[in-house]
């Protein structure tokens, strides 16, 4: 390999590494989110490999086989297809996506899994432009608008099921740190379950364009210890007339 070519391939490699290092998901804070993040990391490794190989080949070819400019330059050897190459580059991508598909389906089953008896069920209703949260067993309701968004609390280490619906147009219930969203569709119910592992405050937002104030259809989730959560819920219940 020529000197220039090796320098280029090194640059490409470093660039790809920087890419991998920077392209990380937000810190996942749920059990399901951690599964998604590890899947994402595996995809990132495969992506970096593909990127380095293809860009490397391309860069090397460009540097190695530069010819003279002009339409009348000498023609190179007129090679054409070779079966062995064709077989290789139909097979390798097929194997790669097969592996990615298997990994995907494993995680998909975990992310889509629904608890038989979740510890807590929260009904989530989207509307133009806010969210209403109803805690099913206690009947506590928290709602918000674009000007005054809702803030709710949830317990860590408990399975929480969100039952998602809409009162008007399509919205999407999305919490970036949970690495998940589900559409809120009128006349249809949707659901996902999470087990929050880390305490903290997480912002949420509408993920599907829903009209004028879509950008302000936000909410906040405070994940707290189960004890604190129970107290908060009792306070809310007492405050409800």
């Amino acid at each position: 390999m020529s000197h220039r070519a090796s320098r280029v391939s090194r640059t490409v490699l470093l660039g790809a590494l920087a890419l991998v290092a920077s392209g990380c998901l937000p810190v996942p804070v749920t059990e399901q989110g951690r599964d998604v993040a590890s899947l994402y990391d595996l995809f990132m490794i495969a992506a970096a490999g593909v990127f380095v190989i293809v860009i490397g080949l391309l860069a090397w070819t460009i540097l190695r086989y530069r010819g003279a400019p002009g339409r009348d330059a000498q023609l190179p050897a007129q090679t054409s297809a070779k079966l062995i190459f064709e077989v290789v580059w139909w097979t390798v991508p097929t194997l790669l996506v097969a592996v990615l598909a298997v990994l995907t389906i494993g995680v998909l089953n975990q992310v889509d899994a629904r608890a038989e008896e979740p510890d807590l069920v929260v009904d989530v209703a989207g509307y133009q432009w806010g969210w209403e949260f109803t805690y099913r067993d206690s009947g506590v309701v928290v709602n918000g608008t674009a000007a005054d968004p809702a803030t709710i609390e949830l317990p860590v280490d408990r399975t929480v099921a969100f039952m998602i619906s809409s009162r008007d147009v399509v919205h999407s219930f999305s919490i970036p740190n949970f690495l998940i969203k589900r559409d809120a569709i009128p006349s249809r119910d949707n659901r996902f379950d999470v087990l929050i592992e880390d305490e903290g405050t997480y912002s949420g937002q509408c993920g599907e364009f829903c009209g004028l104030l879509h950008s302000r259809q936000v909410f906040e989730i405070r994940a707290v210890s189960p004890d604190r959560f129970d107290r908060w819920l009792a306070d809310q219940e007492a405050a409800t007339p």
Partner: protein, 568 residues
């Protein structure tokens, strides 16, 4: 327009048309595929400028948090019309323009199969675009529900503006224009090939357009159905897509069209790349038949992946659509290897067209890779409808419809006009565009990963999205400068560019075997056609007996291929 009662002898017909051709009236009434092609390309480029301007305004608004320039309603109209115009009035008609100009030339035909239908199609497209843009001039403003217009948001209750009706009707008409255009192109390719131009000797650009036309034929009617039903819902109480019916059915219909549409844009530009790479490598394409097969496979698969746009609805089979979406990466990857193998051991000439084409490969590679991420439902759940998707789709759409388009325009401009575009300006433009594009769109991956949703005109300063947004907006200025440079280059080179001659690049395909610009009916004589690269064959094999077969066996015969002579 001259009415021809009976077929005229060719010479006489040319004479009559020549007089009608001069001046503005000649252009407005033309049925010549080359002029219609140019009209399409120029109009599409104007819509690119309009939609590009809208995006610059959006980027200016997003440069810093909260609202400064616009109100939210205007922002919502802008992204809706930007997306709509880029897809329906820039990328798609640019493809049809290139096809119009090049297909008859590449297959050795005098014109398209139905020249008058062709003119009608063009004017219908212009009419439809004016209807959609008319939305800006009605009181309540243009459509503001995103380029895919999901109900119930797009129903009258939530989007009462007449602008929304104009959007529906305009897109419906533009769909009719696309369908008629594709019929014309298919008829041309099937019926008007020169003797010797068998299906397996068609240039790859023509193959890609052939498959694209089939995609148009199968997908646009479905869009038409969805839009017609939406129109009925909006104006006559149809209740198809309202909660009384099912809003999700619209999503299925739209994406059954919408995903093939992505390939309607991508495939022709893959075709452009596949034309340019061999010419500037001075070698035949590596694996012609594999390219044809990959193209057909991509076209077929593109009808099976639509609901990957709907993973988060929780109402589709995620596993099925994930697997079909993964599969479509394979034939696309194969094309990359074919391009690189064509360059391998070639003698590469880095003229401007080749520069853009390599740029396209790098950009589409990134867009393709992020596409595989999005095909995985758990990852899609996380980044769906965030800026990650905005980044992904611009790497795919901009990579093809802008990078490969500029490659194609630099490559074929000499054929269109007889003059070269300035190479030096072209190279400066390329680097500006390349840097500007990546500075604008690469950071958006991270913004999306950090949870920034798409389609928001403002965002709170505390979310941590400020720096990357500022960076992205800065990059968009570089893109604008690059495009202005092209306009300057185009304007001056039209009359002052270096004379190009018939074949400035050493082209492989028939369009280079005639004058630049070509005469009214394209060819006075054709070289023998024994492969997909008749002109390269001439150069490799040397002189040919007048009107006879070239000396020595053709590549196809040596490879033991079974497609004989005559029309395939």
């Amino acid at each position: 327009m001259t009415t021809v009662e009976q077929p005229m002898p060719d010479a006489q017909r040319r004479h009559v048309l020549k007089h009608a051709d001069d001046g503005l009236i000649g252009w407005l009434t033309t049925t010549d595929h080359k002029r219609i092609g140019i009209l399409y390309m120029v109009s599409a480029f104007i819509f690119f400028l309009v939609a590009g301007l809208m995006s610059l305004v959006m980027r200016a608004e997003l440069a810093i948090p909260e609202l400064q320039l616009l109100d939210l309603q205007t922002y919502n109209q802008l992204f809706t019309m930007h997306g709509t115009a880029m897809i329906f009035f820039f990328a798609t008609p640019m493809v049809i323009g290139l096809a119009n100009y090049l297909i008859p030339l590449q297959i050795g035909a005098p014109d398209v199969a139905f020249p008058r239908l062709n003119a009608f199609t063009y004017w219908l497209f212009i009419f439809s675009a004016l209807i959609v843009f008319g939305g800006f001039f009605v009181t309540a403003g243009a459509a503001a529900f995103g380029w895919y217009g999901y109900p119930p948001l797009s129903t009258k209750t939530f989007s009462p503006s007449v602008g929304a009706d104009l959007w529906v009707v305009g897109l419906l008409l533009s769909g009719v224009a696309s369908i008629l255009g594709s019929v014309n192109i298919l008829a041309t390719i099937f019926a008007l090939r020169a003797p010797g131009m068998t299906m397996f000797r068609l240039p790859l650009f023509t193959w890609n357009i052939l498959v694209t036309s089939i995609l148009i034929l199968f997908s646009f009617p479905v869009l038409g159905a969805a839009l017609a039903l939406l129109f009925i819902d909006r104006n006559f109480g149809g209740s198809v897509f309202t909660t009384a019916g099912d809003p999700l059915v619209y999503q299925h219909l739209f994406w059954f069209f919408g995903h093939p549409e992505v390939y309607i844009i991508a495939l022709p530009f893959f075709g452009v790349v596949t034309e340019i790479v061999p010419v500037f490598s001075r070698k035949p394409l590596f694996g012609y038949k594999a390219f044809v097969f990959a193209t057909i496979l991509i076209g077929a698969y593109s009808f099976s992946v639509w609901a990957h746009h709907m993973f988060t609805t929780g109402a589709v089979s995620t596993v099925y659509f994930a697997i079909t979406s993964f599969l479509i990466a394979i034939p696309t990857g194969v094309k990359f290897f074919g391009w690189i193998a064509t360059m391998w051991r070639g003698s590469l000439w880095f003229a401007t067209p080749m520069l853009y084409v390599v740029g396209m490969m790098a950009m589409f590679l990134i867009g393709g890779i992020t596409g595989v991420f999005l095909a995985s439902p758990p990852i899609d759940y996380a980044v769906h409808d965030t800026y990650y998707v905005v980044a992904h789709m611009h790497y795919v759409l901009f990579g093809t419809s802008v990078f490969a388009m500029f490659g194609g325009l630099f490559y074929w401009f000499p054929k269109f006009t007889g003059r070269m575009l300035d190479e030096r300006l072209g190279k400066v433009q390329f680097w500006l565009l390349f840097v500007g594009f990546n500075v604008t769109f690469f950071p958006m991956h991270q913004l999306g990963i950090d949870g920034m949703p798409r389609r928001i005109g403002d965002y709170a300063a505390e979310r941590g999205w400020n720096d990357l947004n500022l960076l992205a907006s800065g990059g968009s200025v570089l893109i604008a400068v690059a495009v202005l440079l092209f306009l300057w280059n185009f304007w001056t080179s039209r009359s002052l560019g270096l004379p190009a001659g018939d074949d400035p690049w050493g082209g492989h395909t028939l369009e280079w075997a005639t004058s630049s610009p070509p005469p009214h009916h394209n060819f006075t004589s054709l070289p023998p056609i024994t492969s997909d690269r008749p002109l390269l064959d001439l150069r490799v094999r040397g002189p040919v007996r007048q009107g006879g077969e070239p000396v020595g066996p053709s590549e196809d015969e040596r490879a033991g291929a079974d497609d004989g002579g005559g029309r395939g």
